[in-house]
């Protein structure tokens, strides 16, 4: 294999991609890095600040709180959406005319723009005029997501579950459909119970797609902004202020570009780190 001819001109073919990536990723990222280590008072005058903003963000209670809120939210929606998605996928028909009906119904929430989802749920859950809000209050439960933190959380989680469980369903369903019939027939002959079929055939065969599903749902929910912003605006108080909402408040509300840049870099590294750990762990299991 050593008779390959090295032609340095081949590097020119990489150039267009390099330029594209530079403009949509590297350059914007570098401006953020730039802001994160400097202070500015306008007029494009910058003062070197070193790691001050990073220290400030990492030591601030505000960041800690929104970070914990974010973790709690992501944990909750993963704990609900993944099992629910698998359960729905298992109960969907695998053959026949209902397949496409189910698939379209499942895909519908995914097609709705995020701010529309937020607005829909906002109105849907309003205690005085919303269908859901009126119904809950009609049952004698005091529910007002604009004033009660618990109600605000429940509504936000419910909205996310409604919006994104379908993604898990579709991925899990694709995994299920790829299992050859012979596995089910063999399981029948081996006398396997429905649970054993799930545990030893369906779940292992869905592992790869579920890894992707969890990864996607983790990233998306960890960066969630539009839906809770439209639904609750981060309130009541700061109770549903997740990382992105907080970041926008700092950057555009208070115009503290330095701390905002430092925070977004920390934020980015956290997402990257978690994804990397998760991916490495699952892939290592795979190769064993």
């Amino acid at each position: 294999m050593n008779d390959r001819t090295a032609n340095p001109r081949a590097w020119w073919f990489v150039l267009p991609v390099l330029v594209l990536v530079a403009f949509n990723a590297l350059i914007p990222l570098m401006t953020v890095v730039n802001y994160s280590v400097q202070e500015t008072f306008g007029d494009n005058v910058f003062f070197w600040e070193g790691l001050k903003w990073f220290e400030q963000v990492l030591n601030s209670d505000r960041f800690h709180e929104s970070f914990l809120r974010q973790l709690a939210f992501t944990g909750m929606i993963l704990a609900i959406e993944v099992p629910l998605g698998i359960a729905v996928a298992l109960s969907m028909p695998r053959k026949g005319p209902w397949v496409s009906v189910c698939l379209v119904l499942m895909a519908l929430p995914l097609l709705i723009p995020w701010n529309v989802v937020g607005a829909m749920w906002n109105i849907f859950a309003l205690p005085d005029i919303g269908l859901l809000g009126r119904m809950i209050n009609g049952m004698g439960i005091d529910y007002n997501f604009t004033q009660q933190p618990v109600a605000a959380w429940l509504t936000t989680v419910l909205m996310d579950v409604w919006h994104w469980t379908s993604l898990v369903v579709l991925l899990a369903y694709a995994g299920l459909c790829s299992i050859p019939d012979a596995y089910y027939q063999a399981a029948k002959i081996d006398g396997a119970s429905a649970w054993a079929v799930f545990r030893y055939i369906q779940l292992p065969k869905m592992k790869r797609v579920l890894t992707i599903a969890i990864l996607l749902r983790f990233m998306d929910s960890f960066m969630i902004y539009t839906e809770p912003f439209v639904l609750t605006g981060g309130g009541p108080g700061n109770t549903t202020t997740f990382l992105s909402i907080d970041l926008v408040k700092i950057a555009l509300g208070q115009f503290d570009l330095g701390p905002a840049a430092a925070m977004s870099l920390i934020y980015f590294l956290v997402v990257l780190l978690v994804c990397w750990i998760f991916y490495t762990l699952t892939m290592r299991n795979e190769s064993q």
């Binding site: 050859p180 012979a182 596995y183 027939q185 063999a186 029948k188 002959i189 081996d190 006398g191 396997a192 119970s193 054993a196 030893y200 055939i201 292992p204 065969k205 064993q288």
Partner: protein
């Protein structure tokens, strides 16, 4: 152990049947004796797998009955039929070890762990899997995985029938041969009825005592390999078994004698009457055709030297007739004439043999 009887089995995958083509299985009647080794042989799409799945209970036939030891099991679920089935593509439970894979059918049936351990050891020994019992099943090669599939069938002691659905398709040729002899050995060892589905005549003929040839959703002949070779009851059997396949030549019947190419051909069984309705053909295997100066004049087109034998392709009136002759036999260069061995030359009407003995 069980005797299997299939009575008037018919199956269609459609909910409404309008023509004969809608039936995957047209009409199957068969009795398979306890402890026999049977092969279901036929081209892809002839209904072999359908028949197998009906026997194992994965499919319920549209019409007809399945009997195990004279007990009707047509509506009995798979798990109660005590059958084992090995599929075309190896099925292993990826996350389990080889040991757990083999133990799985027993655990599902609530067998005690110590009993399981001894059974798994026995089976692993039979299949040469002892050294890999602790390994994850997903890491094995295709033939190793197929052995596990087979082992899961053998591990149960109450198995009536073991069925193989083209089990060697994904196995390398040299391992195929090994695994096939293993199966044959197992059959003598275990004594269960075995049904082996294949489209490969070599596999069928080496494995089975009795070969069931299927064509277009129907059983065309059941017999030993020798019977199928010497006495094909249907022109399809002649074509499908043997290499090259049987010569099938259109003919006429006049005054009680069979005429092909203006010559009278003597057949094993003479036609019953002077005029027979339907398409008339004679069938004779290339092995039973010889050069004969007093025979039918032909034109030699091609000679294939296969080493021990030569295959000679000849033409007469636009029809191809093949001969198998010994390697040292000389092939006539001028005015070649051929003759058919009357004991193995048969008359077929609408593809079925004309035969009064049976």
């Amino acid at each position: 152990m069980a005797k299997i009887a299939l009575q008037n089995l018919k199956h269609s995958y459609m909910t409404r049947t309008t023509s004969a083509d809608d039936w995957a299985l047209k009409e199957v009647d068969a009795v398979w004796e306890n402890g026999g080794a049977y092969a279901l042989l036929g081209p892809s799409g002839c209904g072999k797998t359908t028949l197998l799945n009906i026997i194992s209970g994965l499919l319920v036939p549209t019409e007809g009955r399945v009997l195990f030891d004279d007990i009707d099991v047509t509506d009995t679920p798979t798990i109660e039929r005590h059958i084992a089935q090995v599929f075309q593509f190896p099925v292993v439970y990826d996350t389990m070890t080889v040991y757990d894979n083999l133990a799985f059918p027993l655990r599902n049936r609530g067998v005690a762990e110590d009993k399981i351990a001894s059974r798994v050891q026995t089976i692993a020994k039979m299949l040469d899997l002892e050294s890999s019992l602790k390994r994850r099943a997903s890491g094995l090669t295709a033939d190793g995985k197929q052995k596990i599939s087979l082992g899961r069938g053998l591990v149960r002691e109450d198995v009536n029938v073991i069925m193989f659905d083209e089990p060697l398709t994904v196995i390398d040729p040299h391992l195929k041969w090994l695994l096939r002899s293993k199966l044959k050995e197992l059959h003598q060892h275990v004594g269960a009825t075995m049904i082996y589905v294949t489209h490969d005549q070599t596999e069928a003929l080496t494995f089975a005592d009795s070969v069931v040839v299927m064509h277009d959703g129907a059983v065309v002949q059941v017999g030993s390999p020798v019977e199928l070779f010497e006495h094909p009851r249907h022109t399809f059997v002649g074509h499908f078994i043997g290499s090259p396949g049987m010569n099938v030549l259109p003919c006429e019947v006049h005054d009680g004698s069979v005429i092909f190419a203006d010559a009278v051909v003597t057949t094993a069984t003479p036609p019953a009457s002077n005029s027979i309705d339907g398409r008339l053909e004679i069938g004779v295997r290339p092995e039973f055709v010889r050069f004969d100066t007093g025979g039918i004049a032909v034109e030699i087109v091609k000679v294939d030297d296969l080493g021990r034998v030569q295959i000679v392709e000849t033409h007469r009136d636009g029809y191809t007739i093949k001969l198998v002759v010994d390697e040292d036999q000389e092939i006539p260069s001028e005015n070649p004439r051929i003759a058919f061995n009357p004991d193995y030359t048969r008359l077929y009407v609408d593809k079925w043999v004309v035969d009064h003995e049976q």
